[in-house]
Amino acid sequence: MARTIDITPPGRLPLPDLRELWEAREIFWRFGMRDLLLRYKQTALGVIWVVIQPLLSAGVFSIVFGQIADIDSGPVPYFIFSFSGMLAWNLFNGVVTRASGSLVSNQALISKVFFPRILVPLSSVLSVMVDFLVAGALLVVLLLVAGIGPGLAVLTLPVWVLLLILLATGVGLLSAALMVHYRDVQYVVPFALQTLLYASPIAYPLSAAPENLRWLFEVNPLTWLLEGFRWATLGTDQPPTWQMAAAVGVSVVVFLGGTLVFSKMERGMADVI
């Protein structure tokens, strides 16, 4: 039997309707599939780009930071060290970038058809995850070749990946919702991400940061996640417990915060986009 739908003016603090989200889950998959299909249409190399991109950036980092700046990456070869960092960074960066622009680039849909809008930014996680998995497989190959094993720490890897996704999705949801009102966000996000790329220990280990600026790096949640990710993939030093706890706390809070702001603004989106 059909269910009755009640439409009322938006309340003060609307929460996402989980049942509705579940019913619309196919939209989530379709959007993700669409992104994947579209990304490499009319490209000659197709999916090979997924592999080439992180390899190239790790290569550039190896020359700039590994050779020119001569950064010491400890027992791990610099190339693998930066490749692992890039892997985590690309996951975060990809989700934030794609999610934040997703509503505005689907304007026509938002203003014409109803479906839970949150699925649009959320679905961008899917295609980024595919990239992540492909590049991740490459890392496994690199690790095997170099004879590096993270040991039991690898068991925590899914947690770090999940936390990275939560944090990135939270930020992505927030910026997507804000971008509907203020297109400024589309200029702020790439700039902020670029700053973050250099301000986080991706191309260099945390130990390479100068002592007097250390605190700056240590308050950056991305540092915690990167350290954890490296621990789980390369077997570097285990991050302090407070960092691991804070990483969980911040990621969950940012994700929930982003979701709440998004739901609050969701119903007015068609009016302003």
């Binding site: 059909a2 269910r3 009755t4 739908i5 009640d6 439409i7 009322t8 003016p9 938006p10 619309a24 196919e26 939209i27 379709r30 669409r34 299909l37 579209l38 249409k41 009319q42 026509a108 849909l109 203003s111 014409k112 058809v113 109803f114 479906f115 804000l178 009102h181 203020y182 400024d184 966000v185 119903r267 007015g268 068609a270 009016d271």
Partner: protein, 402 residues
């Protein structure tokens, strides 16, 4: 008393938009924050625009309801609220079942994706389940007639194919309530007829169809009742004929109001005072009549003539009827009642407007959109041509063998 739950219950529904006046509009976030800091207490000067004003109605399941009204009357806003695209400001809507919407053809179609991929994407967006789409896939493709191009990106489709495929997806929605906005205006005559047929069948199956259109003919063909909106208010909810009549009169009134007599182009020495069109809806082989009154100007010397243009919905002048051709010259010192009748050629079905001109050595009055009439879709031929007849106008023709 019936115990049937209405398919749609709308109670005291209102929708307001806030319009920020241009000079005050913060265009960037920084500007808006700065302003808040500089003037913490004053809000930017805004105006509230009410698109829908306290609208209430019930719609029974299985009915096909037309929503009529002029531009800006709130039709599209109402549909947006019913389909949950936008949220109401006040009031509530209760829907007994899912709503499928077809607000604009091809929304959600992606040009790079193939026809097949787009059917699945679009169907999902409109609320169909994967299994549902799969089950009806052949039917959809068949309805659209694009079998051969299923694996071609839709950016290579002709606009007709694109529209047909997009409509076909929406037409196969299995939702209890179906909302359609103006989409039947696209496509060729045959496809339109097919769409109307499809919608009517949906209503016969017990589904509720909401249809917004400017095309009176399709509303009359499809709907069994109608809502008439004006300035955001519900003026009339009842039979299609009543709503159509209201729509016609307000539209004609609007044309008169819209063109303030003194602001029309022309020297203004003489002005057309009143225009009457014999019948707003005519069959194409009927005689059409336009009657108008030109005022008297005692200072006017000499004679003048009048001229009428019949303009189709695309803005093309189809007919030009100049009174000099029928040897009519008029005396400007007398009030003149002029009657124009014309029979041929046969016009294509659709809406036409009539522009009237009063001229002597120059143009004295130019009254664009002085009258409107609509040509009924039923043609006076014995047979039917599936694709419709091409050409600027229709001929009164016959074939026989000797």
């Amino acid at each position: 008393m019936t115990t049937v739950t209405p398919a749609i219950q709308v109670q005291h529904l209102s929708k307001h938009y806030t319009i920020v006046h241009d000079e005050d509009r913060p265009s960037t976030a920084a500007e808006s924050v700065l302003r808040r800091i500089k003037h913490p207490l004053t809000r930017p000067h805004t105006e509230r625009f009410t698109a829908l004003d306290d609208v209430s109605f019930d719609i029974q399941p299985g009915s096909a309801v037309g929503i009529l009204g002029r531009n800006g009357a709130g039709k599209s806003t109402l549909l947006k609220l019913l389909t949950r695209v936008a949220a109401p400001s006040e009031g509530r809507i209760r829907l007994d079942g899912r709503v499928g919407s077809l607000l604009e053809v091809g929304t959600g179609f992606h040009p790079e994706l193939t026809g097949r991929e787009n059917v699945f994407l679009n169907g999902t967006l409109l609320g169909m389940k994967k299994a549902e789409i799969r089950r009806r896939f052949d039917e959809i493709v068949d309805f659209a007639g694009v079998e051969k191009f299923l694996d071609t990106p839709v950016k290579r489709y002709s606009s007709g194919m694109y529209v047909r495929l997009a409509f076909a997806v929406a037409a196969h929605l299995e939702t209890e309530i179906l909302a359609i906005d103006e989409v039947l205006a696209v496509g060729d005559a045959q496809f339109q007829a097919k769409c109307i047929e499809r919608m009517r069948r949906a209503a016969d199956d017990g589904r509720t169809v909401l249809y917004v259109s400017h095309q009176i003919q399709t509303v009359t063909a499809l709907c069994d009742s109608a809502l008439f909106l004006e300035n955001g208010r519900l003026i009339q909810h009842g039979s299609v004929d009543d709503a159509v009549a209201l729509y016609q009169t307000t539209r004609e009134k609007a044309v008169m109001e819209q063109v303030d007599i003194d602001r029309r182009p022309g020297t203004g020495e003489l002005r057309i005072q009143r225009v009457d069109v014999g019948a707003p809806m005519v069959r194409t082989d009927e005689t059409k009549q336009v009657e108008f009154l030109v005022n008297a100007n005692p200072d006017f010397s000499g004679q003048y003539f009048v001229s009428a243009h019949v303009v189709d919905a695309h803005g093309a002048t189809v007919l030009h009827m100049d009174s000099r051709a029928s040897n009519l010259w008029l005396d400007g010192t007398q009030e003149q009642k002029v009657v124009l009748t014309f029979k041929g050629p046969w016009l294509h079905p659709g809406e036409y407007s009539v522009d009237l001109f009063v001229c002597a050595s120059g143009i004295l009055d130019s009254f664009e959109g002085a009258a409107r009439f609509e040509v009924h879709p039923v043609l006076p031929f014995r047979g039917t041509v599936p694709d419709g007849l091409a050409g600027a106008v229709l001929a009164d023709f016959d074939y026989e063998t000797r």
